[in-house]
Symmetry: C2
Subunit: 167 residues, 2 copies
């Protein structure tokens, strides 16, 4: 068994492009003035990929408990049929832990990011990701994912000792 | 020309049922414990109706300017192909002005609600509704609606003097 320590880097559209969308107003190109000048529409912020195999879009809220540091990473998951979007309702950072879709995840393949409080993420179909790593008690997230009866979650468990220190 | 003054009532699932969903954690029945006990999933909070005529789900953010009171209601709109969901990112109330779908809206048919800061709304297809009536500068809303090239917005303008006083 090997020990791994993960340290987060700030999330950006550039460093997250292989894994999905950074959902944010900042740097978004398609802004539309609507409602007689009263509203700016930041249009189509994520590549929602929810409809394969008769999937339906779902709108949910996840209410999270914060992790305790040092946090041990035990399991990672993916959704083979759909993307999954998370957006914080509390303007607080959270951690994003991912691995590429092509192969089974290994400790070496994990990438850890931290959001800036105004960012959400939309994982591409099949991207390995940790469940929400929340830093604050009772932090709520909007989650847009796929509804349907088909199995849509794989998990891989790690034997190695993979730790996120205090952030 | 007749004068109308609208006063809001608190929004609830019961009084909004004809117009769409109140999107809120409170009173929601389908709560799932997931992520090894770290997360409560408030599952499927709105009847998203976005896929007719090859529609695609869109995830957007609307950045609003507040209205100035007394506010004159001049126009109301509907989307004949889809629902439209609004959820505030700032935990602040907003006003919701609607009319039933069956007929063209008249001043007498308008209903005005105020949210409690933890509520969003999801208008049913064809429900007449005012554009976002925001009360605070820079209030952001998540909006889930339909993407597609088809025309999906009708508007009706009022001749009468319809006013919302300070709330």
């Amino acid at each position: 068994m090997t020990n791994y320590t993960l340290k987060p880097v700030p999330l950006s559209k550039a460093n997250f492009a292989d894994y999905g969308d950074v959902v944010e107003v900042k740097h978004h190109g398609d802004i539309r003035d609507i409602n007689y000048g009263m509203t700016k529409r930041y249009h189509d912020l994520a590549n929602l990929d929810l409809l394969s195999d008769s999937g339906q879009p779902l709108f949910n809220i996840f209410r999270t408990s914060p992790v305790v540091f040092p946090f041990k990473v035990k399991v990672i998951e993916r959704h083979p049929l759909s993307s999954q979007l998370f957006f914080p309702l509390t303007s607080q950072p959270f951690l994003v832990l991912v691995a590429r879709a092509e192969t089974l995840p290994t400790p070496d393949s994990l990438k850890l990011f931290i959001t800036n409080g105004s960012q959400g993420v939309n994982y591409k179909k099949n991207i390995w990701h940790h469940y929400l790593i929340s830093l604050y008690q009772g932090a709520d997230f909007i989650v847009v994912d796929r509804g349907g009866k088909e199995k849509n979650c794989d998990e891989v468990f790690f034997d190695d000792d993979i730790v996120i220190e205090q952030v």
